[in-house]
Amino acid sequence: MRIKQHPIIDDYGKGAQISFTLDGKPMVGYEGDSIAAALHAAGIMTHRYTAKRHTPRGVFCCIGRCTDCVMIVNGQPNVRTCITPLEEGMEVQTQYGVVNREQWEADHQ
């Protein structure tokens, strides 16, 4: 959820609304959002599933250090979404190991 009114911060410096997709589904965010912030605002917590134990991971450090938040962005895996600015038309995919879901399922038939 977005903070609608804050006692100290007047302005988060957000710009126009932006459209992007998550696993093909249409989503919206704002200019100035990180990818992770836009997802968090929409209630999306799982960014990836680990390769070995297949457990979910989401934002942990939010400063680009822990790599828990990596996703596939415009086809590129391992993008740290907490420090990557959201852009119009971005295709964001949940990362399974280092691939997307279809690939993962195909590999794990």
Partner: protein
């Protein structure tokens, strides 16, 4: 290869201050920071800082950051962002990863000001989405404008845990509890008290044992711990939360000092493994310095001075500053630093549990350390908290020796004195007339000052409180007064709401309560 007089690694308060100082002395400085924005921790800090005027007290952290950046820009300091320094090698050469490129740079001196990393504790389910670091909570709510969660468990009661808990409340989140494995709250009592009076419970001697939920946090199990910090079976409690926020301490980031070959030492009072440094921050490798949290976990206020001290030393060695001028400045900065490094939370007192009195000889509140609020009988030991002048007057519930004095500067009428030793508790001069202007309330970094008029109306008292939440209740609103523990104690009517620009977003909310609650009513809720 880029060549400079000075390379500063890290654009937090320590690094920026160092760069500014050096640039003023004519040095050619390059700053590298791995972040996309400069400022280090400062832009996440929306609360008013402690210290005195020379340390930017009562300014909010992000404003201090803005000021430092403006100074750096004026002086033409080159701040390279998204530039991670990977290592420091022979001859003070650094390897920098800048976006996808790797560049080399060299300088006559290097200041490592890389700050600290957050500690983590293991528990079942700690890696679930919804378990986040305190820094992540701050980045989401204070930089991105997104609530980290709806209902949060805060693990850790140091200043970071306390400050972030308050910020979560300001962002509109609920804080289910603040827990700490230690038997006492680690941060400033005033920071704990402003969280406790909103009704947030504190559990000391407790730890988190499990994050519940399938794909995300859907609850937290906490338990009491024994003297060896082990959970005691049968004491588990389940809290209904969707987020677990971890604030269990910071560790200095000394890796770069290690790559440079600096001697390191494990020093718990400084927060972990740190380079061995002299009084100017110079490490065992000549002309390589370390300043700020990277050299020992402290505060932004100290980090700024430490950065400057290392910078003048580097400037002197390189011939940009004469010996006499260097000595004069070094003495001035050392004096400024020593004002801050005093009191029960000073680095040299870290981990001490044997203090029972303030410097003035008043008994320290046990309840404040265990539950985050003063018990009424404890308040009565402090003269500044028990004034009963006629008419409106300040009541100051600042009961620990912390380095802070904005309350003194705030009062133009001389009602409040802290004195030269800024860790002393404020003293109220009852012979000076208080006008009820509210500047002390708004200036107090600890939100520990209230304005009370015991005889506001027959049978009623008025209590003015610092209020930093939205929406701000309007005059005429009716609700409840809460006590220091956050429990509703009586009906209350808001009689005035005062806010001026000089109060910098701290509202003076004055409520009318039955006279017998004048010394208990400390928060308002509709």
């Amino acid at each position: 290869m880029m060549r400079h007089d000075l390379i500063v690694i890290g654009a937090g308060p320590a690094g920026l201050s160092a760069a500014i100082e050096a640039a003023r002395l004519g040095m050619d400085v390059a700053v590298f920071d791995e972040n996309a924005r400069p400022g280090g921790q400062l832009f996440k800090q929306i609360h008013k800082f402690f210290g005195s005027k020379e340390h930017h007290a009562k300014e909010r952290g992000f404003r201090i950051g803005e000021d430092l950046l403006a100074d750096a820009e004026k002086l033409g300091v080159a701040v390279h962002l998204n530039a991670t320094v990977m290592g420091i090698y022979e001859g003070r050469e650094v390897l920098v990863k800048h976006e996808d490129e790797t560049v080399h740079a060299k300088a006559d001196a290097i200041i490592i000001a890389t700050g600290a990393a957050e500690n983590m504790i293991p528990f079942t389910g700690w890696d679930k989405p919804g378990v986040i670091g305190a820094g992540a909570a701050q980045a989401l709510m204070n930089l991105q404008g997104v609530m980290p969660g709806k209902r949060i468990l805060m693990v850790g009661s140091g200043n970071v845990g306390l400050v972030v808990s308050f910020q979560l409340l300001q962002a509109g989140c609920e804080v289910a509890a603040v827990i700490d494995a230690a038997p006492r709250i680690g941060g400033y009592g005033v920071h704990a008290a402003k969280v406790a009076r909103t009704g947030v419970p504190f559990y000391t001697r407790h730890t988190v044992v499990e994050a519940l939920g399938k794909d995300r946090v859907e609850g937290a199990v906490i338990a009491e711990v024994d003297d060896h910090f082990q959970p005691i079976p049968g004491t588990e409690k389940t809290l209904d939360v969707d987020t677990i926020c971890i604030a269990v301490g910071l560790s200095p980031m000394s890796q770069l000092a290690d790559t440079a070959g600096c001697d390191l030492v494990l020093d718990r009072k400084r927060g972990g493994t740190v380079p061995v440094i002299d009084e100017y921050g110079e490490t065992s490798v000549p002309n390589v310095y370390c300043a700020g949290d990277a050299a020992g976990i402290e505060e932004a206020s100290t980090a700024m001075i430490l950065g400057r001290i290392s910078a003048i030393r580097a400037a002197e060695k390189a011939g940009f500053l004469g010996a006499a001028e260097f000595t004069a400045r070094a003495d001035e900065y050392a004096a400024s630093l020593s004002k801050l490094r005093r009191g029960m939370f000073a680095p040299q007192n870290k981990g001490r549990t044997d203090m029972t009195e303030t410097d003035e000889g008043y008994p320290l509140s046990k309840s404040l350390l265990a539950h985050g609020f003063l018990e009424p009988n404890e308040v009565s030991a402090f003269p500044c908290a028990t004034v009963h002048e006629v008419g409106v007057h300040p009541v100051i519930e600042c009961t620990q020796n912390i380095p802070c004095n904005p309350c003194q500067d705030a009062c133009r009428f001389g009602c409040i004195t802290v004195g030269d030793d800024i860790v002393k508790l404020p003293v109220i001069d009852e012979t000076k007339r208080c006008t009820g202007c509210g500047m002390c309330v708004a200036s107090c970094s600890g939100q520990a000052i209230f304005l009370v008029d015991e005889a506001y109306e027959p049978g009623y008292a008025s209590v003015g409180i610092p209020y930093e939440f939205v929406p701000v209740p309007k005059a005429g609103a009716r609700g409840h007064a809460l006590n220091r523990a956050g429990a509703p104690i009586c009906d209350a009517e808001v009689v005035s709401v005062k806010y001026t620009k000089a109060m910098d977003k701290t509202v003076l909310l004055t409520m009318k309560v039955p006279a017998e609650f004048a010394s208990e009513a400390r928060f308002y809720r509709d």
